[in-house]
Amino acid sequence: MKKLIVTIVTLTLLSWSAFGGGYQVRLQGQKQTGIGLIGTPFTYGASSIFYNPGALALVPEKFSFSAGVSGIMGKAVFQKSATDYQAYTDSPMGTPFYAYGSWKINNSFAVGLGAYTPFGNSVVWNDDWAGRYLIQNISLSAIFIQPTISYQVKDKFGIGAGFVYAIGNVEINKALYYNTNSDVSLKGSGSNIGFNIGVFYRPVEGVNIGIDYRSKIIMKVEDGDANFNIPSSLATTIPPENKFSAELPLPANLDFGVSIDITEKWLIAFEINWVFWGVYDSLIFTFEESGDLLDSSNPRIYKNSVLPRIGAEFNLNEMFSFRAGAYYDPTPTNEQYFTPETVSLNTVGLTLGVSIVPVKGLSIDLSYLQLFGMEADKSYDPANFSGTYKTVTFIPGIGLSYNF
């Protein structure tokens, strides 16, 4: 099992396509993904480290391990206003992953450790597309590592908390208008800390309620590499090799979910996520040299978003269970400050999932998520770049979990 986790981690490309909801990626458990990405009211296993640390101590088994990966395949199309120009993204497949392990020390306490990738964005437009002076391609990824402790009372109530250490990478390329082949590449990495706290409550057998709050984390890139590929005649004004710093906020989330066992075999669940995107006001780049010429403040003006989710699970027998879900993810972006670096539209998500249990305790979890980013007219006013965008994304996922 350990070996498998390591393999998945090293094979992962750590970048993925944007799909709704800014640059957040909630694919931290295949069971949860299958049921509409609902997570707070469940005790599926170690994946509660992400979804709700409060639920971790209520996982019945002593040990739980879980790992998985998804493949994000998406395309965005852009129709430029008042022109016959259309462009498609050519983004690589994104592969967010997760790996968790937890140990129930005694009847009250459980501890766990998780590594997962809740934020990321990879968008590749053609280098000579019409928006090349805004963005050619961007790749953004973050890995969160979270040691967690959870405490429960009488199989009814649990609280838990995790400390989050986040590391992130960003790479941005865009064309510059000095000469036909001028461009700039910005590459940097950063880290910061945050937390994840959750509460789980089971008022009666068959009804679970979960609340989880994950703090915002401001990823600070310092001493990033800025490479300007510009005509040599400008090298005295703009140094070809420069350093930059920037901050990218990863917003806080508040999740509230309920699950109800309707029959022996059927379960339904609801969840609401508040995502505090309002923290993303502008993207500010500060350069070490020639700052007065190069420094820029780029408005984004995101707004908080609220996502409703619904899902159901059907347990056929001890070997097979099936899940389905749906949710609506309204874009946090601003009409006037919508940039093609994050093609985040009002998005409808439909999910399917199946778990197969070949031997007791081991579960093979498959999920499928299809996203429809609804067609909308958007503009990035500072660049006077406007048009209609639409996205379609499909995300198959596979995971293993072992509880014993």
């Binding site: 395949m73 998406g74 395309k75 965005a76 199309v77 129709q79 430029k80 206003s81 008042a82 022109t83 016959d84 120009y85 259309q86 498609y88 019409a130 928006g131 090349r132 002076y133 805004l134 208008y177 000095y178 000469n179 036909t180 510009i230 005509p231 040599s232 005649s233 400008l234 299809q370 980013g373 067609e375 500072p382 660049a383 006077n384 770049f385 209609t388 639409k390 996205t391 379609v392 994304t393 499909f394």
Partner: protein, 449 residues
């Protein structure tokens, strides 16, 4: 078995399709105009003249060629231009043919090396001026340098080699080149040189064409364009004083570094200042450390010179080395041919207003479309534009609109203007012609070595 494969294929196709979003494509429409045969009539702004010369790639980025490219989606046909043979092209300094300008390194009289416009080569290819008349008729009837009043001059090609290159017959006038195209649609942008030549000469030795003569010549051209029922648009004239040519060298271009230098100049002008004060004028000549208004020739004053006012213009054509090293603007007054004074500026402003009023009246009268380019350039001067993340204003070199001659447009500048033409055409003829993508057009290129 077979059916199963078909079944799987259909599912895979459906999946692949589902992953590619589609948006309804732009629906081009010609409205109530016919773009099949388009003719563009005008001067250098129509010809594709840029960087002080007419050259091949400049012509390919000409305003009407960009428009013709967009007209293709609404039934537009081929657009034939009298192309030059190379990218150095031909411009004229006086009567001396020279190549186009490129951005390069120049060393001034003080040995300071800086980026500035330099000739692309010291030799022109004479083949550029050989006749291409046998390849006609041409859709681009833009003749650099032509005034409205020249349009009907027989044999005008012997006076203007740009027309001489494609003049059909030795006795042809430019307006004679219109009928053979049998155009269904036209753009007419004419009259700029009737005012601009006066401005370029600093108001010396040139006159602005009187409005009545302009109107007569303009109508003569427009009537020929309209004769076969063609539809089209006319553009008004951008105020030449908004171009980079008149706004790059500042009025206070005389920079004095040392207090001592200012004192020497002040002492030298002291006797003249006595005379000026004695004559009851306050217009004395005075220098201090920092930028100083240039001393210019003013023939209306008994003493013949004064310092330039902040709202007067120094032309881009002024030899700047003369200011730096030959005492121009300090010991030697700048010749009037490099200056537009307040009277000349008023004269130009009045003419622009009169001409543009007339062009608008004619457009309304004749039911042709109208493009307010004067407003566009004014907006570019005052607030600038941004398209596709590229900033446009009227600053020299950096402003992206003006090519290295400070008057004619870069390819991107032409593309911006083309989009304003298309908006006016769409409005007038209820058409839906796609705008062009500004990001695809270059502006001034910086040297890479």
């Amino acid at each position: 078995m077979k059916y199963r494969y078909i079944f799987y294929s259909v599912i895979i196709l459906a999946l692949l399709n589902a992953c590619k979003p589609t948006i309804e494509e732009f629906a081009p429409a010609s409205g109530n105009a016919d773009f099949s045969r388009y003719i563009a009539v005008g001067n250098s702004l129509t010809a594709g003249y840029a960087d002080g010369a007419l050259y091949k790639s400049g012509q390919e980025y000409s305003l009407p060629n960009i428009l013709a490219g967009q007209f293709k989606s609404v039934g537009g046909g081929d657009f034939k231009q009298p192309l030059m043979v190379d990218d150095n092209g031909v411009g004229f300094r006086g009567i001396t043919p020279v190549t186009k300008l490129v951005l390069g390194y120049t060393e001034d009289c003080k040995g300071v090396i800086s980026l500035g416009p330099v000739l692309a080569s010291d030799q022109i290819d004479p083949a550029n001026l050989a006749s291409v008349a046998d390849q006609g008729p041409f859709n681009n009837i833009g003749v650099p340098g032509i005034k409205a009043i020249h349009m009907a001059v027989p044999g005008y090609g012997t006076l203007n080699p740009y027309y001489g290159r494609f003049m059909s017959l030795p006795t042809s006038a430019v307006i004679d080149e219109i009928a053979p195209v049998n155009a269904t649609f036209f753009t007419l942008w004419l009259g700029n040189n009737d005012i601009l030549d006066f401005a370029l000469a600093g108001g010396e030795g040139e006159i602005i064409t009187p409005i009545s003569l302009f109107e007569q010549a303009y109508m003569a051209t427009l009537n020929i364009l309209l004769a076969n029922g063609a539809k089209g648009v006319v553009a008004n004239l951008p105020d030449p004083l908004n171009t980079a040519f008149f706004n790059t060298v500042p009025y206070n271009a005389l920079v004095i570094q040392e207090q001592g230098d200012a004192a020497v100049l002040n002492a030298a002008y002291a006797p003249l200042n006595q005379i000026i004060i004695g004559a009851g004028s306050t217009d004395t000549i005075y220098f201090s450390v920092g930028p100083n208004p240039l001393v210019i020739v003013d023939a209306s004053l008994p003493w013949g010179l004064r310092q330039i006012k902040s709202d007067e213009k120094i032309l881009l054509s002024i030899p700047q080395d003369s200011i730096k090293c030959s005492g121009w603007g300090s010991q030697v007054p700048v010749p009037a041919s490099f200056v537009l004074d307040q009277n000349e500026i008023t004269e130009i402003n009045t003419a622009i207003t009169d001409y543009n009023t007339k062009i608008f009246e004619i457009a309304v009268d004749q039911s042709v479309g109208f493009v307010n380019i004067n407003k566009v350039l004014k907006e570019a001067t005052e607030n600038g534009y941004v398209f596709d993340g590229i900033e446009f204003d009227t600053e020299f070199v950096k402003g992206n609109i003006f090519s290295l001659d400070g008057i004619h447009k870069t390819p991107a500048g032409n593309a911006v203007i083309a989009n304003f033409f298309i908006e006016a055409i769409n409005l007038q003829f209820n058409a839906n012609i796609p705008l062009t993508v500004i990001a695809d057009y270059p502006a001034v290129q910086f040297p890479t070595d």
